[in-house]
């Protein structure tokens, strides 16, 4: 069903009177091209021409409806088959629908209206499917490895080689790296370049969901399982069935839930809250953390058995500061994307701007570079981005914050602390200002509390 003008509707009906009636009815719409057949044999000979919709009489002289339906479906599952029958037997209708018939219409007085409605619905549905498939392909193309993992440095090329090794299998992957190094991008790239690409990619940020809700979020719940559970709800494991579940910030998972997650991963089944029935799932797991999980195990904060279960295939993403001239390759990529998306003339980087970009340490990694570039494009008046168009986040810091001899992480925490004060703890606003996830901010607040700095 390419477009409405080329919808090919074929009729297989041995009764000459009905054949004529159906042909006349469908031909009333000039957007449909109609062909008629009086038996299954003649119709099947022409099937290579691939009609969009076929109406078949349930009782043909040379074949019954079930057999003909099966032959059509085995030839091309996408052909919509409408069975038209004298019989108004429910079990026959159910059987035909189960076997893939699009609809079952009884030869009654309103057969013409019903048929036109059904064809119309079939076309709408097919157009939606076509659109979804096109969008899906767009997403798959977007996450093409060459377009996603950008950079020529040995560090990122090593990561790329590791990523490629995960595409042909279902091994559990754990992606580690500093904030902003692209852990979720890598997870999506693995999913959309694997055989699971046509199924769901479901991301859960473990740190962003309150502890008391995470179990229901992951495993789902039955109606009435707890106060507020007004309906049955499937969890992320079920939602990602056949696809990939990305568990971001896995290191933040509550210790008591780690055991339940381990059980789910080992048994490949989950149990919804409020139910006793285990549900099998076929979901690839990709986890990510900015923490050193081994250290967390040593500290007793992360279960050792879960650690080993997750460490199927570790991929460490390098910080941007260790990627040398990748900064310029990425900067050019972000310029291209931003200018294209915002329909502004393509800009280039001046030599001074390049030097400035290369001389910075990027505590926020690629995410920070992207924001810096986007801001520079907007600020700059020329077609060339100049050095003074580039403003780094750390340039705006209170000198008091950067005068101490702190680690990079401590500086990050300072930045967040400064913003919390400045914007009166408005997490959403701060997340937007810093271009980081709200979950990251919550996680940093938690870290500050643990260190006694907040």
């Amino acid at each position: 069903m390419k477009d409405k003008k080329t919808v090919a509707v074929w009729i297989v009906e041995d009764n000459e009177w009905y054949n004529k009636l159906l042909k006349h009815t469908i031909s009333l719409n000039p957007e449909y091209s109609v062909r008629t057949f009086f038996n299954a044999h003649d119709f099947l000979k022409e099937l290579e021409a691939k009609p969009d919709i076929v109406t078949i009489d349930y009782r043909l002289p040379d074949m019954d409806g079930i057999e003909l339906l099966a032959k059509i479906k085995s030839f091309d599952e996408n052909i919509k088959v409408i069975v038209i029958s004298e019989q108004d037997k429910i079990d026959t209708a159910i059987e035909l629908l189960r076997l893939g018939a699009y609809d079952y219409i009884v030869k009654e007085k309103d057969v013409r209206n019903r048929l036109l409605n059904t064809i119309n619905n079939a076309i709408k549905e097919q157009n939606l499917v076509t659109r979804i498939m096109a969008l899906e392909q767009e997403v798959i193309n977007k996450y093409d490895l060459n377009k996603t993992i950008i950079g020529a440095s040995p560090a990122i090329q090593t990561s790329l080689k590791l990523i490629e090794k995960t595409l042909e299998n279902n091994i559990t992957v754990i992606v580690t790296g500093e904030t902003g190094t692209g852990k979720e991008v890598v997870a999506k790239a693995i999913h959309y370049n694997s055989s699971r690409k046509h199924k769901n990619f479901v991301a859960v940020n473990v740190a962003a969901i309150p502890g008391e809700l995470i179990e229901a979020e992951l495993f789902g719940h039955e109606k009435g399982a707890f106060t507020g559970a007004n309906n049955r709800r499937i969890g992320k494991f079920e939602e990602a069935n056949g696809g990939t579940l990305f568990l971001d910030e896995i290191g933040e998972l509550d210790h008591s839930l780690q055991a339940k997650l381990l059980r789910a991963l080992q048994e490949k089944e989950i149990v919804r809250i409020g139910s006793n029935a285990p549900i099998k799932f076929d979901t690839r797991i990709i986890a990510a953390t900015h923490r050193n999980l081994k250290e967390e195990v040593k500290k007793g904060k992360f279960r050792e058995d879960l650690y080993y279960r997750l460490m199927g295939f570790p991929i460490e993403l390098p910080p941007l500061r260790s990627r040398g001239k990748d900064v310029l390759i990425l900067a050019k990529h972000f310029i291209d994307v931003f200018c294209k998306e915002n329909k502004v003339p393509l800009k280039t980087l001046s030599e001074e701007a390049k030097a400035k970009l290369l001389g910075y340490h990027y505590p926020g990694n690629i995410r920070e570079l992207r924001s810096t570039i986007e801001l520079a494009i907007v600020i700059g008046d020329k077609n060339e981005i100049m050095a003074n168009d580039i403003t780094f986040l750390s340039d705006e810091l209170n000198p008091e914050n950067v005068s101490d001899d702190l680690t990079m992480r401590e500086y990050e925490l300072k930045i967040v602390e400064t913003y919390l004060k400045k914007y009166n703890n408005d997490i959403k606003l701060i997340a937007s200002k810093l271009d980081i996830g709200q979950a990251t901010i919550y996680r940093m607040i938690k870290e500050m509390k643990e260190k006694g700095t907040a």
């Binding site: 041995d14 009764n15 000459e16 009177w17 009905y18 004529k20 009636l21 006349h24 009815t25 009333l28 009782r59 004298e86 030869k107 009654e108 007085k109 057969v111 013409r112």
Partner: protein, 121 residues
């Protein structure tokens, strides 16, 4: 009711052929002509099969004629054809089928007469 008895009333309803298209009358006439053609040949086939006591074929013919009859609400022919089909296919019986075939034959003749008159007007 004996079909050839005086008082047999043929009823029908052509609203199932209603449409908004041009040349609508022409379409209705064409469909009635096809109905006459299909009913005549179907009845002939049914009689031959009944003589040979080929009841399955009798039911097949009844089934084939019944579709248009139901659509046009042609009574009493539709009812008789339904009885033939149900008795043979669903009840797996043949008792009374020759009589029903005879009755259908008479009803079909009367119906065809009515329809021929209708398209000649």
């Amino acid at each position: 009711m004996k079909p050839n008895m005086p008082g047999m009333k043929i009823s029908y309803n052509l609203s199932g052929l209603d449409g908004l298209e041009d040349k609508h009358d022409q379409f209705i006439k064409e469909m009635i002509r096809l109905f006459i053609k299909g009913t005549s040949s179907g009845m002939k086939g049914m009689q031959v099969a009944a003589k040979e006591k080929d009841w399955n074929t009798v039911a097949e013919h009844a089934h084939k004629i019944l579709g248009p009859c139901k659509h046009l609400e042609v009574m009493p022919l539709a009812k008789t054809l339904r009885s033939i089909e149900n008795t043979i296919f669903d009840l797996k019986k043949t008792d009374g089928i020759p009589e029903l075939v005879e009755q259908a034959e008479e009803e079909a003749k009367e119906t065809i007469k009515v329809f021929e008159k209708l398209i000649s007007e």
